[in-house]
Assembly symmetry: C3
Homo-oligomer: 485 residues x 3
């Protein structure tokens, strides 16, 4: 099954990654060790000199940034590894690949992200080292999320080596895009509607477009769920849904910033659930609900409120955003995804266009409008400055101007996603990465040792071969006994 030479493949496929995968893992991990050795150290709050630093800055231990952000970090961490991982286990025979490759690329990506984001944002001007603390590891997880979203579009159709390459470039592009958006444009995007979701989704969709598989229908019998795989996927859905308030508030401002971001996200997600159920039922024969919608569209509200969650969006504002996104995202699964596959040649396994791209863009727009509408009576004088960080060289920026920059940031995210995706897609088309054939997608056996399923049938068959057909009832009984043992 590893090798397939069939007429309709675009050439013979070698899916054996026995040398490429270990080679990539060893080389990249070794490179990480060297680069970390040269560049990375603890920051003031995680270094043993904290005892002196804290006295000098008149802080108590509990004011270490660790205690502000660590609980949120752990929630984000769960979203990355269990949330994204299990969300993709809905396919009947791709659970190992979903959870396993998600695990692999996230573990690599977060190391590379610490370096890339460190070079852009966390270089200590005195000694030139990247100084890391809890905020960095949250940011690294965020950065990885972009690549995992891209994986969602490609699920079941790429090799682990391709995923490692996708992640290497994805993190790099992410860090540059983030630098432009956050540092140059001075846009705010605490929950990453633009920086993470919009970028990640378009990055994945563009790669999927470049890697278009004309004969993917040959794998169609595996491109679906079974009862238990849908249950596993709900684990992913729920952990994403529950911890999204932590995602959007993890790196917001201390105090009211984190507090408000969590509340807005909580509300937005709640509203999304109701419209998702409504549309899912409304558009099906007999009003039956579709698990694909429940697993995915219920999360759209968290994506869309990412940028504005720390602003004074107001509780009802959050509900409105969630309401619209559940609606749009579910309609996307019903109408837009089939259209994209048929007409635009974009095969989007998990529907990231509906879950991340559209809600991400909406989130960017909501953020721009909310920022432009900010005013001193609503935020307070000090609150306005703190929320939008109107300090130093940005001290004279007004909310209206900020709104414009937010909109510009949106465009940067889309461009980086599409441009980067096309570029990386072309690299991934090289025949050296161990990709599968069109008729072998969505199948764990290609890259994993898969255990035999409950094996009752084999002994029966052997038995059967030696028995006369008219002893059928007896044979069946044997089989039954085997299954019961």
């Amino acid at each position: 099954m590893g090798n397939c030479i069939v007429p309709y493949c675009d050439g013979p496929k070698n899916t054996n990654v026995r040398f490429t995968l270990p080679a990539v893992c060893f080389v990249w991990q070794s490179a990480m060790i060297i680069l970390f050795g040269v560049f990375v150290r603890y920051n003031e709050e995680s270094d043993a000199h904290w005892a002196e630093y804290r006295v000098k800055h008149n802080k108590t231990d509990i004011e270490n940034d660790f205690y502000f952000r660590y609980p949120s970090f752990q929630d984000v961490h769960v979203m990355i590894f269990v949330g994204f991982g299990f969300l993709m286990t809905f396919l009947k025979r791709y659970g190992f690949g979903a959870v396993g490759f998600n695990f692999l690329i996230a573990a690599f990506g977060l190391q590379w992200a610490l370096l890339m984001q460190g070079w852009f944002h966390f270089i200590d001007p005195v000694d030139g080292f990247i100084k890391i603390g809890v905020e960095n590891i949250i940011n690294a997880d965020f950065c990885v999320a972009g690549c995992l979203i891209a994986y969602g579009a490609l699920l079941g159709k790429v090799s682990p080596v391709q995923l490692m390459v996708l992640t290497l470039f994805g993190i790099t592009l992410f860090a540059v895009e983030e630098f432009i958006i956050i540092s140059l444009l001075h846009a705010r995007d605490a929950g990453g509607s633009m920086v993470i979701h919009t970028f990640g989704a378009y990055y994945g969709l563009s790669i999927s477009w470049v890697l278009y598989r004309p004969n993917l229908k040959d794998s169609s019998k595996l491109n679906g769920s079974v009862y238990h795989s849908d249950m596993f996927a709900m684990i992913g859905t729920l952990f994403l849904w529950m911890f999204w308030p932590s995602f959007n508030s993890a790196i917001s401002d201390h105090g009211d910033g984190q507090h408000r971001a969590a509340i807005n996200t909580y509300l937005s997600l709640a509203a999304t659930v109701l419209t998702t159920f409504a549309i899912s039922s409304l558009y099906q024969k007999h009003g039956k609900l579709d698990m694909v919608h429940i697993q995915n569209s219920t999360l759209a509200g968290g994506v869309a409120v990412g940028t504005a969650a720390e602003f004074m969006l107001m509780p009802y504002g959050s509900l409105i955003v969630g309401f619209c996104c559940g609606l749009i995202s579910t309609l996307g699964y019903i109408y837009i995804s089939p259209y994209m596959e048929r007409k635009l040649k974009i095969q989007d396994t998990c529907g990231v266009h509906n879950l991340h791209a559209m809600p991400g863009v909406i989130g960017g727009i909501v953020g721009a409008i909310t920022a432009a509408a900010a005013s001193e009576p609503v935020y307070g004088k000090e609150g306005l400055i703190k929320t939008f960080d109107f300090e130093k060289s940005f001290a004279n920026r007004t909310p209206a101007v900020q709104g414009g920059y937010q909109a510009a940031a949106m465009c940067v995210a889309v461009c980086f996603g599409i441009g980067g995706g096309i570029l990386v897609g072309l690299i991934l088309r090289m025949p050296i990465w161990g990709s599968v054939a069109d008729d072998n997608c969505f199948e764990d056996e290609v890259y994993w040792e898969v255990p035999q399923d409950e094996e009752p049938i084999l002994p029966v068959l052997e038995y059967n071969n030696h028995m006369a057909t008219n002893k059928n009832a007896e044979v069946m009984e044997t089989r039954f006994n085997v299954e019961q043992s």
Copy 2:
């Protein structure tokens, strides 16, 4: 399968919710948006004016209530969505309904709870708005828990529209009951033994009594578990069990209150596990353990220590409570549930009577006794006032009197549960809610698009139809190959 017209149904059933479910979702979500727009704003700790507020009140950022309660909130959130949701997935073919409808009604319920609880407890006297913060979203999750407990009694026997109605009324009743217990009687119930568990359980049981299904045995082949569904249910059990210390401590007093509540709950739950295993083994032939007990009764200690967790119950006191509840709850599953179904006509799918009603009542009694026995030597002068909130108009209340009010609160919870349940049950008997027939309960296919199970059999059958019977071995071999592919 959607429509069944059979003699033993109490009339033909139309389970098509294609218009009612979307209509209810859209109307109620729109109402939420309007009501939130009119009534709900951020409180001082989540509003951007925090920067000024905190200076005025001489607080640091870390003293924002968010940092006291947010980690506990996230644990409670997991209990509501993964804990309750997966606990109910034990049925072999009702996993989608268990997790999915739990998701739907919790997401709706928490919005309505924010409003209802807000009107009773969180109106700002100055501007008349409901001001929300992290404590409110914890309380909203608590409020939802009451309705999810009620769902446990009705699992597999009601339509999603019925559940939405149940939730609307359940939250409303809960808020009134809570107002009477907490504000009027000034009873303490941080973990909600009375307010949440007793009320929720009797509410659900009463509805189940009104909706009694005489022919439910026609669905009996689906009213049980399979191996994997029991494993999914254990995910729910364990997340409830592990995070229960957070549930009982989430809204306790800052400092020792939260600390003590967590420890007491931790101990009580540990003791419950041992007596549950003991009774489960003792009452089965061959001493084999029953998963139903392990999944449910192990949690009874958390319920029963809800009221008294923040009091000076003492570590050994917590162990005693847990010891008794594991015992009583497991015996309930063995003796009381069958009796209730046979004699009292109460069909209790998940056994909420054993997991929530009895332990809830015990919790109320333990709370009353512990409160009545409180004394200054044990609590300290200031500690006694703080723990029981003997301030303002309650400054003169003594522990003994408090014990009396706690007992009164217990009765209020039971009455609201039974009275409210009967009322709402009658509403739910109206034939417009898309309920299922007696022979079609515990079946996801009624309301969900269910994927075909591992499909190897269909091709074989087609093949089989065209082949002579004496080629049976060959046919079986084909089938085997299909399954291995």
Copy 3:
């Protein structure tokens, strides 16, 4: 199935635990209640007198130790119950035993641990009570982890009563070992590489050696996974992996200690994932990944960084530790485990030698080296004292000497594990504990009521018995319908 009398058993086996299991549970739980009543009280931070204590010590509520450690505690709690529990569900028919017995012994163990550790470390000199708070319940969970690791080596081969005995002695040995290592040798071991992992693993391996089952191959058809059981095991793996930073930082010093321990663990685990995938692919035919490695070896980095996580190991140091451990642990599964089973007669179901023993020893060595290399320029004067607790009677100890004591601690852990394991193994060989026969291992039906699997075949068989064989197609069709219903 409960009783087996077959020639190759070492005597007839009575697996009926109907009296022993309840007896043990009741007696031990009752003993716990009495001992807690006599010995255990709340400490200053969880007692209602906190209101006075905190004023006297000039602390605010947020400086209650609860807020420093409770989020980490909850993560550790998840690791113990869901992490360890689900990690062991990989066997096709031992999911109930894996999760259920894990639950039972952890719930008992933590109570006994609170007492044992309390007597050694937390006796109040004034009134003689053990005073407990959040740190105690974390330590109790840690202590339990040692026994759960031992269970990993014995999974599927012991009765619940044997496990209770194993836990009783395991906790006792642990507490003595911990007292020697932490208090007498004054070694540091915040994440428990030595105290927890090394001890636990050798304890379990030694017991397994004493309980060697020569005919275990008779159960070999159940000693493996199926597709869904591997997915359940990944839930355990991921929750262990994600929350390990909390495990290693839970009881570190406030401030930089916890902060640094979390970062080091995060990095180490990330590196482990890459080398695990690399070796797993490199050593398999066709480069296919093996789920056994992914489920287990990816965690080795967390074990190995346990001792040194709170030291100034440096980010690159953590990566190096992780790199090596992923490599060694995976090779252990490939080469050492089969060798141990064949030559040393140690049957290690979960491979705890590869996941806990070897990485634990490496962790001890890394800790000793890092401690010996500590210096004032790197730690700061105050930081050095605080990190290694060079105070009171240890004020004159130098880092080099500390390194020696760390190494000595390593040896103590190994000796206690092996010695204690052999002793307890001999006790467990007594024929009164309800152990299973060699041909009946890895099978839930021995101790659990197991639900019938999806039952479509039975009715068909009955039908089949009454039908002529040449109506086979019709029969199959009937069966198909049954399965679809």
